[in-house]
Amino acid sequence: MNGYFAPLNILALALYIFSAVGYTASIFLEARNAPIAYSRNKLIALARPFLLAGIGVQVAATGSWCVSTHLSPFASLYGTLSVFAWIAAIAFAVTDLKFHLPAVGVVALPIACMALFVGLLHAHRPPDETRLLETQLISIHVLCILSSFALFVVSFGCACCYLLQNHLLKARSVNGLLRRLPPLITLDNVAYRAVIFALPLLSAGLMLGMIDMARANPRITPQQWALDPHNLIAFIVWLLYGFYLVTRLLMGWRGVRLQYLLIAGLLVACTVYFAPNQTHHFPASHQ
């Protein structure tokens, strides 16, 4: 029924794992008998095609799903997580190609792999074929939210690298790892750029969700909406990243504390997966 969605996603998962291993090895492996730069570049040169191939395979998988089911991939948790993994992989690929930050892949790619793997665990569940899922509005709502979360993954990766690099510099632990991690300022800037794109997407996603919910359930009060754990978490995430942007952009703050804020933001966002929902009408894609 799902066409080649599952086999192609399994292939994509394998490609992402190979890529993640390549990126991780390029950062953590010490080259004993060869110039470090040579070995490192070779590993990255191997990891990148795997990543791009995985992204391509996921395009085919999603296309296969849409053709065979005539439904949006967001009609199932499996599809939603699959698309999230795909966007996260694209977000990292762009980051790596534009800013040359393979270290961020050490964090971002395992998260994408995990999302795809968890999605595959839910592959047996039938898609929700309710009317809402067929509207373009809700698809854009989910797409916006997922895109913002994928960008938060990139900022999370940057923040983790920042804290690690900060720790190594503080501890004067001058080893190869220190040299392979990007400069602090680069990580800070890339994380900021990711959030500056992500927050408007999250805002748009939340607004579209509210509009759609009000249209579908006119009886739901703002109080009920606000008390929905999903909405509450999304709002907290929005506040955290909003606070980050205000302090970074308007107050000019930098440094370690902002990185903790980025990490906290994604961790809170991840709790959406575990939170029960009361006002959403498509339990298959929102647990």
Binding site: N166, R172, L184, I185, W253, G255, V256
Partner: protein, 440 residues
């Protein structure tokens, strides 16, 4: 005897090294103090990583060591037992090889660094100015400089980031992606600051601010680096607030930057990373500063770690540099040993010339009938004979000294005995001297 005593970063921590530093202004006093001792020549080599004394003296090694130890304790006001275990004392070949390795950058904290050559040259100049160098140490230091240059040009040891400046650039690059946006504040307008700042400027740093207790000196260095000067008090507030990288290399005896005076500045910096390089000895920045958030403090000892990380990759270059050091050490030692037999050769020549004159005088009554031309011929004949007789012993003496085989055959003693140069050795039993081997 040629000897070297001193302590270096290998054994002595920065807390000890800073106590034994010989600042430029203290060198005349140090040389004056050394001149009171029975030493023939002295050169003081004092850098951030070492405080070493090279001497020549006609003393027993143990006695010389004790004398130099007492001098160091007295001059630096430190009890002997507090640093004796950190000292290195070497004589002869070991001392020579050590200086060659130092000049080659093989003993440096930043392996292969080029700055040490300038420091060795300066040490020689200062010793020359103090009138404490002679032929042996002057030649040794000149040879060491030559060795250093050879290593710099003939191996890859001098390429890359091997000086404090290079390491500073490398470490700052772990924080800042583009140096053209970074602001650098230089505290203290010393040579080290200048050299390190130059590396950063070469890497693209455009905003350089220099602060010094003597404002005129700050202006001078700022002009040299294409930056601007700032008064010290202003630098401690505005300067630190705006800077991304701080290079501190003042000659202050105590730290000039503490956690307490940096904290209010950090609040105004709003979390912007601040990289502090304390390249002064004694240290300028309180180590506690590193515990502050978004502040990275590296002193000279910390930079050693950076250098060690590169050492493995350059083992082949180290081997090549060590080979050059070995060749140059042997070359110097060959010259040095010849110097040891030179007095014997001079004595031999004088003795033979005296013999010639003596015999001319004895035969004077028989030479009276000779014309001046004939007399001149006789004198020339005698001189040629003397030269011919002396040629082989002198050649063998020099050769065996250069090859360090003189001790094996006891050639100087043999020459003295053969030509009755020393009455004490005249009674030496001929059987003890290897006549055949040495004079053939």
């Amino acid at each position: 005897m040629l000897a070297r005593i001193g302590l270096s970063h290998h054994k002595a921590p920065i807390t000890i090294r800073e106590r034994f530093n010989y600042p430029e202004h203290a060198l005349p006093q140090a040389y004056a103090s050394l001149s009171q001792m029975p030493l023939t020549e002295t050169v003081l080599l004092s850098t951030c990583n070492r405080a070493e004394l090279y001497v020549t003296a006609d003393l027993e090694p143990r006695l010389l060591y004790q004398m130099l130890l007492e001098h160091m304790a007295h001059f630096h006001h430190m009890p002997e037992e507090s640093f004796e275990g950190l000292l290195d004392f070497q004589t002869g070949e070991d001392a020579v090889r050590h200086l060659m390795r130092v000049a080659a950058g093989l003993d440096s904290l930043a392996l292969g660094e080029a700055q040490i050559l300038g420091q060795v040259r300066q040490a020689l100049q200062m010793a020359g100015a103090a009138g404490s160098t002679g032929r042996v140490l002057h030649r040794l230091f000149e040879h060491a400089l030559h060795t250093g240059k050879r290593v710099q040009t003939e191996t890859g040891l001098g390429k890359g980031r091997y000086s404090v400046g290079h390491v500073a650039v490398e470490m700052a690059g772990r924080v800042f992606d583009q140096f053209d946006r970074a602001r650098i504040l230089i505290l203290g307008a010393g040579k080290m600051s200048e050299l390190t700042a130059k590396h950063l400027v070469e890497r693209g740093v455009r905003f350089v601010v220099v602060a010094n207790r003597t404002y005129a000196r700050a202006v001078e260095l700022a002009e040299h680096l294409g930056g601007s000067a700032m008064h010290w008090e202003e630098a401690m507030e505005t300067g630190l607030q705006e800077a991304d990288i701080v290079l501190s290399s003042t000659s202050a005896p105590h730290p000039v930057l503490h956690r307490a005076n940096l904290q209010p500045v950090l609040r105004k910096r709003r979390g912007r990373p601040l990289f502090l390089f304390d390249i002064a000895l004694p240290r300028d920045i309180d180590p506690d500063v590193n515990t502050l958030e978004n502040v990275f403090l590296y002193n000279l000892d910390d930079l050693q770690q950076v250098v060690h990380a590169d050492t493995q990759r350059r083992m082949a270059e180290i081997d090549r540099a060590e080979a050059i050091v070995g060749i140059e050490t042997e070359e110097y030692l060959a010259w040095y040993r010849v110097q040891e037999v030179n007095p014997v050769i001079a004595q031999l020549r004088t003795h033979l010339n005296a013999l010639r004159d003596e015999y001319l005088q004895i035969f004077e009554p028989r030479l009276t009938g000779l014309s001046p031309k004939e007399r001149e011929s006789v004198e020339a004949l005698l001189s040629a004979l003397i030269d011919q007789v002396a040629r082989t012993p002198i050649k063998i003496l020099k050769q065996s000294a250069a090859e360090d085989t003189a001790q094996m055959f006891d050639l100087p003693s043999a020459a003295r005995a053969l030509f009755e140069l020393n009455s004490n050795l005249a009674n030496t039993p001929p059987a003890l001297l290897p006549e055949q081997e040495t004079l053939q």
